[in-house]
């Protein structure tokens, strides 16, 4: 229920104990009282929207400027559009976004292949550096993979 009392300053004791020094966010924040103007501050010219932009539903309109790096697309884009129907407080905002990120990684591989490029995942993961600076660990991992692979193959052959 909204209290529309405009004469709040007549409430007994109103403002008696104000301590302007008691600003817990100082020195990060140089308190000016402008917060009470809410969103009615001077703004720059709005950046034109030329791409699909997903806006937080916790704000009435777009920020003055925004990034245009990767508009939503594909299955991950559909999931992101769903996520943005919910506020930043809700798990149904964040969990779908994480799911979309994982799907997006696979979409990226498909996109690469469609363009005729097989992604060099070893290079992308920086394994050249691993080989140079962590050879022993890399060899150890390769041995484990070999042993597990051999056991698995033997087991499957035996089963046949």
């Amino acid at each position: 229920m909204i209290n529309d009392n405009q004469d709040y300053k007549n409430i007994p004791g109103w403002g008696m104990d104000i301590d302007v020094e008691n600003e817990p966010t100082y020195p990060m924040k140089n308190y000016t009282g402008d917060d009470h103007k809410r969103s009615n501050y001077e703004k720059s010219e709005q950046q034109p929207v030329k791409i699909e932009l997903l806006k937080s539903n916790e704000r009435p309109k777009n920020s003055v400027v925004f990034g245009t790096s990767v508009p939503p697309s594909g299955l991950s884009g559909m999931i992101r559009r769903y996520a943005f129907q919910h506020s930043e407080d809700r798990y149904r905002h964040w969990i779908p976004l994480i799911l979309a990120d994982r799907i997006n990684a696979w979409e990226g591989i498909i996109e690469d292949i469609q363009k005729g490029n097989i992604p060099n995942i070893f290079a992308e993961r920086g394994y050249k550096a691993e080989l140079k600076y962590n050879t022993a660990k890399l060899v150890e991992r390769a041995c484990y993979a070999l042993i597990i692979g051999t056991i698995a193959i033997k087991y499957l052959r035996k089963k046949k």
Binding site: P24, T25, P27, M28, K29, N30, Y31, T32, D34, D35, K37, S39, Y41, E42, K43, S44, E45, Q47, P48, L53, L54, K55, S56, E58, N62, S63, V64, V65, F66, G67, S69, V70, P72, R80, A83, F84, E88, Y91, W94, L97, I98, A100, D101, R102, N104, A105, W106, E107, G108, I109, A123, E124, R125, G126, Y127, K128, A129, E130, Y133, N134
Partner: protein
């Protein structure tokens, strides 16, 4: 132009991408001359930050030369060499006007919980970052600051994030003369926080981590006590013991969501993603600080939620202070510290790598190979 391209968790590459364009009259295009990989970029690289889209270019720590300006840009001109703060700030909203440049309300459409940050996912505004030859810089009248003529570019690039974040971490601690300060995390930010803490007059600065080579570096660079938590049965008990069973006056979390040291936090935060990363360092900070003490947080956590002992915050009367660094507010003071020789940021740099080798650079930093502390990427572009 060449730019970093994120392909999914633990996968990045460099490739040719379109040149950035002026999209707003207050934009500038900057040719990048130095750019760093930040510890918080690793959270993106590891797939920990929601809405990190494949095809994004990371990088929020960069300096460069102004190549092009929009019609309303008056504070910088073409050819200026500039430090670009990692926060994108309009300078006009109530938050910017009160010095909270890291909380600008007009730079991020996608989320209200964080202001715009270069190359830091769509949760932070969807901007391409500076791990590229060129980058679009919005609000060029506000953020970019001309680099003093006598400043080394390696010092300048660390003024975009590492130095201001470390300094603000100490500043938020409200350190009093004679205080004992504990810094969790001996990455670049933690080392800088420990070094900057001395500006506020404590009698002891202690740093905690699990990597000996970083602790050794921190001990020498930040002139602090350094301890490896892997050698302790219980880090909180250890800290209580060495502070006369009282607790530290100020604890600073410089680790964030990928902390090690607590199996339950690691399982729920890093393996199963049941919380927004492992909040081990924050848990230790809350439990190690004295009653009525201050916990300062600059470690990055994801947006949803974390398991932390909030009951102890209440019962111990702890003041919890946190924010993204307000780089623009701090720059004049920090430039003075660097120019006077009191701070030597470039000593943190252990690796200088061509932009083309970004995949290896990320892997080295992420896996802590070759005693890596801070990596600077250098694009080969010439004017």
């Amino acid at each position: 132009m060449l730019a970093m391209n994120y392909r999914g968790p633990y996968r990045v590459r460099v490739e040719q991408r379109p040149m950035p364009e002026i999209l707003h009259p207050e934009d500038a295009i900057v040719r990048v001359t130095r750019t760093c990989i930040c510890g918080s970029d690793l959270h993106l690289y590891h797939g920990m930050v929601p809405d990190t889209r494949v095809g994004s270019t990371f990088g929020h720590e960069f300096i460069g030369v102004i190549e092009e300006i929009g019609p309303l840009v008056t504070n910088v001109k073409v050819g200026d060499q500039v430090i670009v703060p990692f926060n994108i700030a309009c300078g006009k909203c109530n938050f910017c006007k009160q010095g909270l440049y890291g909380n600008c309300h007009e730079s991020n459409t996608m989320a209200t919980a964080v202001g715009g940050i270069f190359g830091y996912s769509h949760t932070a505004g969807g901007y391409n970052g500076g791990q590229a030859e060129y980058v679009r810089v919005p609000y060029a009248n506000v953020g970019p600051t001309v680099i003093p003529a006598d400043m080394d570019p390696d010092d300048a690039v660390l003024l975009t994030d590492v130095v201001p974040t470390g300094y603000q971490a100490a500043e938020m601690g409200g350190i009093k003369e004679g205080d004992t300060v504990v810094v969790f995390g001996a990455g670049p930010i933690g080392i800088m926080a420990a070094r900057c803490a001395w500006f506020f007059g404590p009698s002891r600065v202690i740093i905690i981590d699990h990597l000996d080579y970083r602790l050794e570096f921190a001990k020498n660079y930040a002139k602090c006590e350094a301890y490896n938590f892997k050698s302790m049965a219980d880090p909180v008990l250890f800290l209580k013991k060495i502070t006369d069973w009282y607790g530290a006056d100020v604890c600073i979390d410089c680790v964030g969501c990928e902390a090690e040291g607590n199996a339950l936090q690691t399982f729920t935060g890093k393996i199963t993603l049941m919380q927004a990363g492992a909040a081990t360092a924050l848990q230790w900070a809350i439990n190690s600080v004295k009653k009525g003490g201050i916990v300062s947080v600059v470690g990055v956590y994801g947006p949803p939620f974390n398991y932390v002992p909030i009951g102890n915050v209440l019962n111990k009367g702890i003041t919890l202070r946190a924010n993204q660094a307000s780089v623009k507010r701090l720059l004049p003071r920090l430039i003075d510290h660097v120019q006077s020789g009191r701070l030597e940021p470039k000593k943190l740099i252990t690796h200088r790598v061509p932009l083309e080798e970004i995949s290896d650079a990320y892997h080295i930093f992420s896996s802590k190979l070759d005693n890596c502390i801070k990596t600077v990427l250098i694009p080969s572009t010439k004017a």
